[in-house]
Symmetry: D2
Subunit: 228 residues, 4 copies
Amino acid sequence: MVQIELPVVAINFKTYPQATGERAVLLAQHCESVAKEYGVSIVVAPQTPDLYRVSRAVDIPVFAQHMDPGAPGRHTGHVLGETLVEAGCSGTLLNHSENRMILADLEEAVRTAERLHLYTIVCTNNPTVSVAAATLAPSAVAVEPPELIGTGISVSQAQPEIITGTVEKIRAVNPDVTILCGAGISTGEDVRAALDLGAQGVLLASAVAKSDRPVEVLKSLVEPLRDC
Amino acid sequence: MVQIELPVVAINFKTYPQATGERAVLLAQHCESVAKEYGVSIVVAPQTPDLYRVSRAVDIPVFAQHMDPGAPGRHTGHVLGETLVEAGCSGTLLNHSENRMILADLEEAVRTAERLHLYTIVCTNNPTVSVAAATLAPSAVAVEPPELIGTGISVSQAQPEIITGTVEKIRAVNPDVTILCGAGISTGEDVRAALDLGAQGVLLASAVAKSDRPVEVLKSLVEPLRDC
Amino acid sequence: MVQIELPVVAINFKTYPQATGERAVLLAQHCESVAKEYGVSIVVAPQTPDLYRVSRAVDIPVFAQHMDPGAPGRHTGHVLGETLVEAGCSGTLLNHSENRMILADLEEAVRTAERLHLYTIVCTNNPTVSVAAATLAPSAVAVEPPELIGTGISVSQAQPEIITGTVEKIRAVNPDVTILCGAGISTGEDVRAALDLGAQGVLLASAVAKSDRPVEVLKSLVEPLRDC
Amino acid sequence: MVQIELPVVAINFKTYPQATGERAVLLAQHCESVAKEYGVSIVVAPQTPDLYRVSRAVDIPVFAQHMDPGAPGRHTGHVLGETLVEAGCSGTLLNHSENRMILADLEEAVRTAERLHLYTIVCTNNPTVSVAAATLAPSAVAVEPPELIGTGISVSQAQPEIITGTVEKIRAVNPDVTILCGAGISTGEDVRAALDLGAQGVLLASAVAKSDRPVEVLKSLVEPLRDC
């Protein structure tokens, strides 16, 4: 399994035009330079067609945004783990809120990724689903507390129990899984709050991938990681 | 719109290990060398993570195996047309039997591809669906006569009406769409039969992508195209 | 095939609490009494678990809101045509915007329904998709002009071309299919406008199924049908 | 929550013609008469359009084969819990292998069912998925050991660890959930073996629903329950 240094900041490029094609490469290079300058762990998740060119251009871990279950051979148009490995990926997001997976497929994808030494971050929408995902033994679970989705409330402003409660429940079934905070993160203050509450990293998208000044934003986001 | 010279042989790499990663590049280069040597039109459709590296390596048209509908921004893990363009694609398969699409999504994908000048090949499973697909005005329809799917019967052995009947029905609603034969093709004889019966090309996968001697197979497949 | 008298007003009960269980029966009886009093054609589409009790209670045609493709035997939890017939259904909606279907499945469902003499109303989201659906030869297509969806604009207020254009395009590929207007209908004036513009009926939901006074609304809606 | 007496034999009617419409009612009545004669607990799961007529005809618990997540209002063609309650259902199967669910939808459906006092049986395909499902706190998990699916091996012939191992893993995360054996059951001997190995009941389909002599089969199946 690829080792991801913790705490980690994972950047989902989604399909933002500012993070597509050559601009995906540029953004990943910005992430790499900040990671090196600050000595912190940053992971990038560009779109599937951009994975190869990004992984060739940077030394930080490159993740897919999704991986399908299934064995090589058929499955036209599907994104299999074996092909992600060939494209230079170190891991993959799974079950993102924009790409929810069937439970049995999710488990199969986690197992396939495990066999291929790909790191898996399973996104989840509430504490109960987070616990269920944790029992599948992925590398990490990225919890998105419903109180922080689309409400404009950030982790640093929210009630601490929202995060700590989920962390405790996950730990009861899986003491080893990495726990990321996957919502309500746009500033360094939010990252610090997430880490203080027991998360081992964060997963975010627009604050970096849509920014006109991504380097500046990245520096402010990773500042709290230097102290860890 | 990218112009694809007709008749055309389109090769779906599926997720065959022999057509993944660096071997996808190699297979595409074989296709390119045969296309140039014989002066014929060959299109390759590698897996999504391989699109960029293949399109950088060859001058023949590179197609995606699937494209999702949707506008850039969200859609984590989806494969959007804008990103395919950036990856060097000239077109995409749509609605492959291993990746069937919702009708409204298929139409939206065809429209988006059109706007982005991406060539679209819509796969269909019977004459009625072929006609429906043709009314969406994609660049091409790849018909898979049910009599040729999984029966071991090739186009050259089948009753001519199986192909000619579908061609006639499609022409009644769309005189311009390119018609490919998408099943029952593994030899040059099959290609010739398909062309004789009114198809303007073929879509095939395993005969090339799983072959130990793909160049040899490709040469035999494109032989009938030289005469056109 | 069940004959549905035209023009028709089809009422989709959706999953409104006011149109569920015993209240579905009551609403269907209201529809029946208005249909008889006014001598007009009304079709009701209650939820799947309510189909049997509604079809037992009324003499007007009862439609399912959805039907899955597939042959009897497996398919746990799916809604097959054979079972709809046993439940007393005369037809089914297909491809509703809240239940979009894969093109190949839609075609298979239309064929199965045809064999079982079930009337099919295929919902479509724009003129191009309406034409594609019409080539599948369902009993009817319910067109939802995008200009009338969620805009608050009703058919009677909209530019006539929005309906007439779609009707013309459908007629070019299928002179026989019944054309319903599936959006922008909440008053008798809207029904009249839809009929004037070439539709042979309407499909609507909330104006009746959420109403506190459904009989009154129904009477106003069917008033224009009396004159036909 | 409806209380289901344990041990239980749950019969999935699937879409078998022998268990559709009036024949679903008849089969459910057979199940009821055997349940009463032998003083055992039998649950029937007919198709969605048959739920109302079956629940009206028998006093044993009637389950749906599937339930969709979502709140009443929209969701045309979906099967919501509120409507199942109105149709006389006591519970529902969820995530059957022929109707796999997205993890987040499955959790939402379990929560909705809980609120509506509907009993939930979540089907699962291997030990890891069984544990994940158990953390969602459904009423029951029906485990389908992969060694018993499509292999012709029955529970009574299989190695005991196949069942006991899964039971232990589930108990570690949820001491209360009912555990059913959902594969490899066609005789009373199989039922006895399943109960001996820690299951609290069985879920089966074809052995009863496709049988020419369902009463006889049912009697042989429930014989071991009399001793419990």
